[in-house]
């Protein structure tokens, strides 16, 4: 039963990955990749690694893919007609290289002597956590430092350059500088206001003056 589920999930992962890397629309590619990641998470669960399976769903499919979607939608990159998708001539060397590599890998793995199955006791989540924080404590610290550096670097790269010289001059919206609007403003200025309205409030004045 578990073997059948594994092969179904493996086929799902491979097909979803193929669809993801051949899809021209980036948002559809990300969604196919989320499908592939979910099936990989279930494979991890079948391999008796529930911690990695849960982290795969939460971090990979939940955080990283949503970050991709966020950037694609923020930069408005979901236009496959802009000509960034590869031509079939660009697919050719990639397909040849991948095919040769996969064939070599399959030949090597199949011709390898199958080692006898060791009835190994699987580590529980408690043992994984103990091993993580007792034996690999330095690595945990290094990873956290790396995440901190990534955070600082992303903040530095993503900050807005506020350059006052390159900014366009501010203009009030909806006012074309026509005579009617100007006359309305002049009519308003005869009204006993303490100060003339600033430039940006032309539309408000235009709405309330009739």
């Amino acid at each position: 039963m578990e073997q059948i589920i594994f092969y179904i999930l493996a086929a799902t992962a491979v097909i979803a990955t193929i669809l993801a890397i051949t899809e021209k629309h980036p948002v559809h590619a990300i969604l196919f990749l989320v499908t592939s990641l979910f099936s990989m998470a279930t494979i991890f669960y079948l391999l008796m690694a529930p911690l990695v399976a849960v982290f795969e769903v939460i971090i990979y499919a939940g955080a990283i893919m949503v970050l991709f979607l966020f950037v694609i939608m923020m930069l408005d990159l979901g236009h496959p007609e802009k000509g960034l998708s590869p031509h079939w001539k660009e697919w050719l060397p990639a397909v040849i290289l991948s095919g040769v590599s996969i064939a070599a890998l399959v030949v090597v793995i199949v011709s390898r002597h199958a080692a006898g199955a060791v009835p190994a006791a699987m580590p529980t989540i408690r043992e994984v956590a103990v091993s993580l924080f007792r034996e690999h404590g330095l690595a945990v610290e290094l990873i956290s430092l790396q995440l901190l550096f990534a955070l600082v670097g992303a903040l530095y790269l993503g900050r807005q350059q506020i350059d006052t010289k390159s900014l366009p001059p501010f203009q009030g919206e909806g006012r074309g500088g026509d005579g009617v609007d100007l006359s309305m403003r002049h009519g308003l200025e005869t009204h006993p206001h303490p100060s003339p309205p600033p430039e940006g409030e032309g539309t408000i004045n235009g709405k309330i003056s009739p």
């Binding site: 578990e2 073997q3 690694a49 950037v71 996969i102 390898r112 091993s131 995440l147 790269l157």
Partner: protein, 102 residues
């Protein structure tokens, strides 16, 4: 192990080389290059977890978690760089950023 280790290795190799081929083919689009790198890292994680299950050792799962943290750091930096490059030239085409070409 529910299935032989060889089958899991073949699945991971398939996913890895699919990601590699996609990376080579999509070399004009920064976003899709990052997506293909994700596929490759995911295949490597599958090999680590399969080894952990095969030998009953927790280190493989720990390294898979480390790879996940590394990937999140890499993706956040790379996407910040994509936003920065898009702000400079209004495109994510890698051919547009060739100022250092001799």
């Amino acid at each position: 192990m529910i299935v032989p280790l060889e089958h899991i290795l073949i699945l991971a190799g398939l996913l890895f080389f699919l990601g590699l081929g996609g990376l080579l083919a999509w070399r004009a689009n920064l976003i899709m290059m990052l997506v293909c790198i994700e596929v490759m890292l995911n295949a490597v994680m599958l090999i680590f977890v399969a080894g952990s299950t095969r030998w009953g050792n927790a280190d493989g799962q720990i390294f898979a978690v480390f790879i996940m943290a590394l990937t999140s750091a890499e993706v956040s930096l790379a996407l910040a760089m994509v936003v920065y490059l898009h702000r400079r030239k209004r495109t994510v085409n890698t051919d547009a950023f060739s100022e250092m070409k001799g």
